[in-house]
Symmetry: C2
Subunit: 237 residues, 2 copies
């Protein structure tokens, strides 16, 4: 639990990898209390952020201008941090299978720039099993470290509703999972710094991944159903 | 609006047709303030109710024993009331088409025992258009009266969640619709007697019918989806 104390004492930094509509609110929220590195592979985005512009519209230009987040696209900056949150997109391909390019690339960069004692948390939408079956092997290979011994992994699904000013990062309960009890505890305590309504601890990474895919799919089904009803009712009413 | 005043002054009676898990809570709730006839074609049910037993478990034996509802299966009792609520079941047949037997039978009985000035409100789940296309013609034929001139019709979908003690008739907002503005106003004001959280007025009977079928279908989809996920996750996790 040393890491949580160090983060709160501003002796350790949090890194957010991927600064889109998920990563940016996280980075800005943590930067109110802790030291934060905001990493994105996209140099042009980083330049915009350094100029105080928010193309994601999630936090607004003013928040970007005023934040203490260190924006960077320099991979080696990741060495400075022991708590890394991965918030890269996982879109789907034309054949509807997940496009894991960004998450795999993030794992490579993190693996190459991580050291003993790191905690890596994924927020991207994935299928149950991806963190353990895909991410951990890449992290181990690139770092030469052993997961569970040298570094730890967790999953905490993003629940941002893009454009929604009412339901925000801070007031949506956040699901957290860790590869073991100690990791779960660290991840929960770190997120509790920014999530005002608290976190919901679940029993395993797979359960958290399943919760995320259930939430997204249910929303898709509801939207699709309302679209269908709208067409049917338009003809009936 | 005379009818609302008469109901509140206990000079006019409300009749609930169909005393299952929808009709019984309605009858008991209205009977706290107004005079209520509780009608069901099932003589055995009526006998049980007269003995103070609640097989629906929605209100409980005690509430039935203490209620002032006049339980009856005598069709001619419907003549005593100008405000009639139809809460009969509309199950589906084996081929998934709606079984309208109970609602058609209710319309026949009401038509044969109604007189000028009546307001008839349907609560049963139906498809958009059923009240106007099926119920009104039967009511007109059996009564020899003209809908819109001699009697009025409305629709207010039941939203009872059977067995739920938290979300009850009184604290679930009720959608109300009427064939014209005056009827809508009467129906809204009558339901406001019992619905503590108020009513939501919609623009037409078809819109209220559509809202009901959308609500039921969405719940079915959600349940079906969670059942599917449960099977999938059971194999994955």
């Amino acid at each position: 639990m040393r890491i949580v104390k160090d983060i709160l004492d501003q002796k350790a930094k949090i890194t957010v990898v991927g600064l889109g509509y998920v990563g940016m609110p996280l980075a800005v929220a943590f930067a109110r209390t802790t030291k934060v590195i905001g990493f994105d592979v996209d140099k042009k985005k980083i330049e915009m952020y350094c100029q105080g512009l928010d193309p994601t519209k999630q936090v607004g230009d003013k928040a970007i201008k005023e934040t203490s987040v260190e924006f960077t696209s320099d991979n080696s900056k990741l060495k400075e941090s022991k708590f890394i949150i991965v918030a890269v997109p996982t879109p789907i391909k034309i054949d509807k299978t997940p496009n894991l390019e960004a998450v795999i690339n993030a794992c490579r960069i993190i693996g190459q720039n991580t050291s003993k004692g790191a905690v890596i948390v994924f927020e991207s939408t994935v299928y149950p099993g991806l963190t353990e079956d895909v991410c951990i092997p890449i992290l181990e290979k690139e770092s030469g470290l052993i997961c569970g011994k040298d570094f730890k992994v967790g999953y905490s699904p993003e629940r941002i509703n893009p454009g929604d000013k009412e339901n925000r990062l801070e007031n949506i309960k956040k699901i957290v999972a860790g590869m073991d009890n100690e990791t779960l505890d660290i991840i929960a305590k770190v997120y509790e710094i920014i999530i005002e309504v608290g976190v919901h601890r679940v029993s395993s990474i797979k359960v958290a991944e399943a919760a995320k895919v259930a939430e997204n799919s249910q929303r898709d089904i509801n939207i699709a159903f309302m679209n269908e009803l709208s067409m049917v009712f338009d003809r009936m009413l």
